[in-house]
Symmetry: C2
DNA sequence: TGATTTAAAGACCATTTGGTCTATATCTTT
DNA sequence: AAAGATATAGACCAAATGGTCTTTAAATCA
């Protein structure tokens, strides 16, 4: 997974994969079929990790506002310094392959849907608890938050963000809650 | 430019370039040197277009709030339907090459800086005109808006957005202005 | 028209790509 | 220790990559 993450699909050549998996050519093909299947496995893995993380951060049994704060804080951390420069496999794959690769497309689309749904759910719970500012619609706010964090990952590829991003994340959430 | 835009750097092969430029191999190399230089030209072109557009939308002589609305509307339009699916050369390049290619890195980083500065400037003018909601910091809000639109372009690759995105954009801006 | 520059077509090249296959070595398992 | 299974190293392959070069055609200019 790591090598695809760091280099992207096209830029990852077989030798890179062999080095990363410490497998011989034969074993790798016996185990995974081909490069594309292996990539799909890596992508599934990455997505599963991300969903797991969200399940923890936005756990329905926890306070939704705390959850959203944790969710944003996670992205702030992941877009700082070297983490930020490494980027995000999902976004890189989206831009590189989505639209030309149906297998990839399905996975990515569903991931974004899941993410937006989880955030929307947390916002709905916040609203039910009277914690949302007047006139805030959970669905709209969810899309805004998801786009914000994805955008963060993009701009932090060239300019890893820091304190200023934390401030922006705080400012954004503050507009929604009370 | 179009072919890099649609396919990305690595996925664009020489034959694609020849077809797109209607040049012969020899002429193309005489004119541009190599694939990388040609790509840089295309990227510069794309960025110049984007900056020009922003200069019009966020023209200091126009009402800043109208300008911001136009700026967001542009992104809403560009992320709908087929436009959306085509994606954005800058973001695709960011994810594919930034961090491994210094020439690319410089261009992208400066573009994001310019964009954020333009948006921040519009917000500052709005604040000076008393059009900003209480407690809104132009720098923070600019980063939020930039991340939002870049995130929009990402998620619209797999799920071209529509009315819901317009609503989200409106909702976001409404949180900042009064 | 005839000479000279310019561009097109595509043969050609070394390298790299993803992928297969065989021969050798390393384990298990009895 | 012997036999069988398993994995390794790496030779090998066809196709595609980015890039060069020569030959031929088209345009320009005198």
């Amino acid at each position: 997974m790591g090598v695809f993450w760091s280099r992207g699909y096209h830029a990852t050549a077989l030798p890179d994969l062999l080095r990363a998996t410490k497998l011989s050519r034969g074993s790798l093909y016996a185990a995974f079929g081909d490069k594309h299947s292996l990539f799909l496995r890596a992508l599934d893995c990455y997505i599963a990790d991300a969903v797991t993380r969200m399940d923890i951060e936005l756990d329905p049994r926890k306070d939704p506002v705390d959850g959203l704060r944790a969710y944003l804080a996670g992205y702030v951390e992941r877009t700082s310094g070297a983490h930020g420069r490494r980027g995000c496999l999902v976004i890189a794959t989206t831009m590189e392959l989505a639209g030309r690769d149906a297998d990839v497309n399905r996975r990515i689309a569903s991931f974004f849907e899941v993410m937006e749904a989880r955030v929307a759910d947390a916002l709905s719970r916040a609203k039910a608890a009277g914690r949302l500012a007047d006139g805030v619609d959970p669905a709209n706010a969810a899309r805004i938050l998801v786009c914000f964090v994805e955008g963060l990952r993009v701009i932090s590829k060239t300019a890893p963000t820091g304190a200023i991003t934390q401030a922006a994340a705080d400012a954004l959430l503050d507009r929604f809650i009370r």
